[in-house]
């Protein structure tokens, strides 16, 4: 860039006053007035977005913290300390919602984390039809979730659904899917994986392109089979991306809402699909208890903040 010329200049004409090189050169030729004008212009460009953030992002974040310690009765706001947290804690649905959310996350990771990786590994091996396979995997991501979820509800129907029909071909007895507390959550996860795996698969595919081929050759010389090659070469080589995606999926799946909300009406049979976010929704919009909703939200926020912080750290490491 301009650095070499600068040093050369300085050796020739050493007494020339140095200018701070922090901005575009044409903009800080003058004094205070120009700096001021430059800043006014720059902030003018920023102001629209900043106002939107202030009203719809920063202020709500602050408000979330305040709400958790407030109570609104007949339009009057009062401070109640930790009372909202006690209410939330004593709710019989509290434990169940957390258990369900964790169970959903575990299932979603087993399916939603492993399936896209395996799909990417398989697609990457083919010398033909990669474009077609990519297209297929990503197709559901583009559907409005309402459409996919209601479609799955139809496919899951114990009587006239496609899934029982397919199982019937293999002689497996019809399942109750969403109506059975034991399979309800699994059914939700399968639908969710189908809807969302495309993004992760494409990202893994991109990461696989950067695994050096020599490493596989070296592993083969050591007599490594297919699975060992995956475990000892592919996984370590794509470790950072895998970890990033894992964290991202944990953050996303812990916030699951629309799938259970539309598939099982939220709570599901015997409350088997009540998730934390659905509980927040219920507090706020069914019971008008914004304090309790905020308190529960804050608990989720604190938990996920840990994952978010880890994600940001890793992401920075990835970019360097």
């Amino acid at each position: 860039m301009s650095a070499p010329t600068l040093t050369k200049d300085r050796t020739v004409k050493d007494r020339r006053p140095r200018r701070p090189r922090t901005g575009p050169p044409h903009l800080h030729d003058g004094g205070l007035g120009t700096t001021l004008r430059r800043n006014i212009t720059a902030h003018g460009f920023l102001i629209g977005a900043v106002l939107c953030f202030a009203f719809f992002s920063w202020y709500p974040i602050v408000r979330e913290f305040l709400l958790a310690f407030q109570k609104t009765e007949d339009g009057r706001v009062s401070w109640v300390g930790w009372e909202n947290f006690v209410t939330v804690w004593n709710d019989p649905a509290f434990g169940q919602a957390w258990r369900n959310t964790l169970w959903f996350t575990v299932l979603a990771l087993l399916l939603g984390f492993v399936v896209p990786f395996v799909a990417a590994l398989v697609i990457n091996e083919f010398r033909h039809g990669q474009g077609y396979l990519r297209l297929l995997v990503y197709l559901p991501v583009m559907l409005p979730p309402t459409a996919s979820v209601l479609l799955f509800k139809y496919l899951y129907d114990p009587g006239y659904g496609m899934f029982n029909e397919i199982l019937g071909v293999f002689g497996v007895p019809a399942q109750q899917w969403l109506q059975d507390p034991d399979t309800a959550m699994l059914s939700v996860v399968v639908a969710s994986t189908w809807m969302n795996m495309g993004g992760a698969t494409l990202i893994y595919l991109a990461a696989l392109q950067s695994v050096p081929g020599e490493l596989y050759e070296a592993a083969e010389l050591d007599g490594a089979g297919l699975l060992r090659k995956v475990w000892h070469v592919t996984v370590p080589q794509t470790r950072l991306i895998l970890l990033l995606m894992l964290l991202m999926q944990i953050i996303a799946t812990m916030q699951v809402f629309i799938e259970p909300f539309l598939l099982t009406g939220g709570a599901g049979p015997e409350g088997s699909t009540t998730t934390v976010v659905y509980l927040i929704y219920q507090y706020a919009f069914n019971f008008n208890n914004y304090g309790a909703a905020a308190a529960l939200g804050l608990l989720l926020l604190v938990l996920l903040a840990g994952f978010s912080a880890a994600y940001t750290r890793l992401n920075r490491a990835e970019q360097d």
């Binding site: 979330e64 409005p144 979730p145 799955f152 006239y160 496609m162 494409l202 990202i203 020599e214």
Partner: protein, 291 residues
């Protein structure tokens, strides 16, 4: 593709390897097609069945008689034209607002570098760490009564448009792209007396077409796919989006009509995807990786 992958080329070159490759390939193609197109086939074909056939046990793989008029019925009964227009209005309004405000903000942060710019960018990016669903409650209360201006945004398109601007990820993508535009290019223009707006319009934007495409597609798709927020802030059935409207009418129409409506609702984004698949996929891996 010439890059070396898991299976060695030598193994593939052998007759047995070749045969195995093609068998696996065929199996995977069939499996993927069934897994991803199967449900879509079921959707389109069930939309063509009679009401009785759509809910009969066992179901039929091919409609016994074809009734395309279900699609017309869905269109009329569920007032899909209005839902579709509403959604288009929200999506493209959000797109326009994001393109103007987020591009301006990213340009300012990248090239004009105001005082406190770093802090503002940091605060924007910090919002990415807050789980979106947690914020829905305070955001909803804000939309009910926006402070200072004291407006209620319920049932107004602004309730969709203004929060859509707070897309820190898009700002980040744009800023990163603007950062890669060489300084010299902009300085040359400024030397000729072009102001910041002029530089943005005639130099930065033309070279940023790829990233603008990606950001635009994600902005439109984002509004199209959103469910919880529009459900909360647009309770009036006349104002609803496609995703919400179909949900709220789901139980009041026969199954075959509902399924036909789902097919119709899926069509626009699918078309968008088929048209712009290259941009979408490259944008996903370029931006998604390093979000």
């Amino acid at each position: 593709m010439s890059t070396r992958t898991l299976i060695s080329p030598a193994q593939l070159a052998r007759p047995r390897g070749k045969a195995l490759y093609w068998v696996c390939f065929a199996l995977v193609v069939v499996l993927f097609t069934l897994a991803f197109l199967g449900p879509l086939y079921w959707m389109v074909s069930s939309g063509l069945k009679t009401t009785q056939e759509a809910v009969q046990t066992p179901p039929t793989w091919v409609p016994g008689s074809v009734h395309p008029e279900n699609y017309q019925r869905a269109w009329e009964v569920m007032d899909l034209a209005r839902l579709l227009l509403n959604t288009l209005y929200y999506a493209f309004g959000a797109l326009a607002l994001q393109l103007v405000l987020d591009v301006a903000a990213a340009y300012s942060l990248s090239k004009l570098r105001p005082v406190l710019g770093k802090l503002i960018l940091g605060m924007m990016l910090a919002t990415l760490m807050i789980p979106a669903t947690v914020l829905v409650v305070p955001q909803y209360l804000t939309a009910l009564d926006v402070p200072i201006v004291e407006r209620n945004l319920l049932n107004s398109p602004w309730a969709i448009w203004l929060p859509s601007v707070t897309n820190a990820f898009n700002i980040f993508l744009l800023k990163r792209f603007f950062d890669s535009i060489p300084r010299e290019l902009l300085d040359a223009a400024s030397m000729d007396g072009a102001g910041p707006l002029r530089v943005l319009w005639s130099i930065v934007l033309p070279v940023s077409r790829p990233i603008l495409g990606v950001v635009s597609i994600f902005a439109v798709v984002g509004v199209w796919k959103d469910f919880l927020w529009p459900m909360l802030v647009l309770p009036d059935p006349q104002q609803q989006t496609l995703a919400v409207g179909i949900y709220s009418l789901a139980t009041s129409v026969p199954e075959n009509v509902l399924i036909a409506a789902l097919s119709i609702a899926s069509l626009p984004t699918l078309l968008l995807f088929l048209l712009f698949q290259r941009n979408i996929m490259s944008g996903l891996t370029a931006g998604g990786l390093k979000g």
